[in-house]
């Protein structure tokens, strides 16, 4: 499996501000994904972070609200823009095809509280 780290691990933010979350993997991976987990709920895919091209967003998620970067095969960022209390969630990155294995592994998550 891959070792995945996320920064920050948690944050408390004011509404109207933006937060950028970083995801770092210890090996090159083909696919990186960003998920949201709202309080008491399951995981929902936000987008697929594509290296060298624009991210692919799922229905209900837009680039203006959740801009994503993927500058190389080991790193990605997700920005939560113009935050409101409804954005309070855990944000998780995942990777697959890490180390030759073909399943998805998750980072520890970033716990965001918007006041």
């Amino acid at each position: 499996s891959a070792v995945i780290s996320q920064k920050p691990s948690r944050d408390i933010c004011q509404r109207g501000t933006s937060l950028t979350i970083q995801c770092q993997v210890d090996s090159q991976v083909t696919m990186m994904f960003w998920y949201r987990q709202q309080p008491g709920q399951s995981l929902t895919l936000i987008a697929t972070a594509n290296q060298g091209s624009e991210a692919t967003y799922e229905s209900g998620f837009v680039i203006d609200k959740f801009p994503i970067s993927r500058p190389n095969l080991t790193f990605s960022t997700l920005t939560v823009s113009n935050m409101s209390p409804e954005d309070s969630s855990i944000y998780l990155c995942s990777v697959d095809r890490a180390g030759g294995e073909e399943t998805q592994y998750f980072g520890p998550g970033t716990r965001l509280l918007v006041l």
């Binding site: 309080p39 709920q41 998780l92």
Partner: protein, 112 residues
């Protein structure tokens, strides 16, 4: 850490008993399935996976069963231990290694 399973169904089992966690998946075209375990304050941890050309797969103390006829997936944990207490999610994918759709999740509580 906070609980991520406040609104999820709960399964309570006695330590040492076997646990069975069920999941109904949504897409008959899905061909890859994964079970994850999520402990409080952590990201989901891979437990076991299965492809649609199989109906059973065993790991260490865990077994996954797949019934494609009724679109049902189950996770069996043998000799459940306190460390197994967590939220368990099933996930499905239409393509091996592609984006995942997660089920609602089940809280497993192990009583000592």
């Amino acid at each position: 850490g906070e609980s991520v399973g406040l609104h999820l169904p709960t399964l309570s089992v006695q330590e040492g008993d076997n646990s069975i966690i069920n999941c109904a998946y949504s897409n008959s075209a899905s061909d890859y399935f994964i079970w994850y375990k999520q402990e409080s304050g952590k990201g989901p941890q891979f437990i076991i996976d299965i492809r649609s050309n199989m109906d059973k797969r065993q790991g260490q103390r865990v077994t996954v069963l797949l019934n494609k006829t009724v679109k049902h997936l189950s996770l069996q944990i043998a000799a459940t231990q306190p460390g197994d207490s967590a939220v368990y999610f099933c996930a499905e994918s239409m393509e091996y290694g592609n984006k995942l759709v997660f089920g609602a999740g089940t809280i497993l509580r192990v009583k000592s």
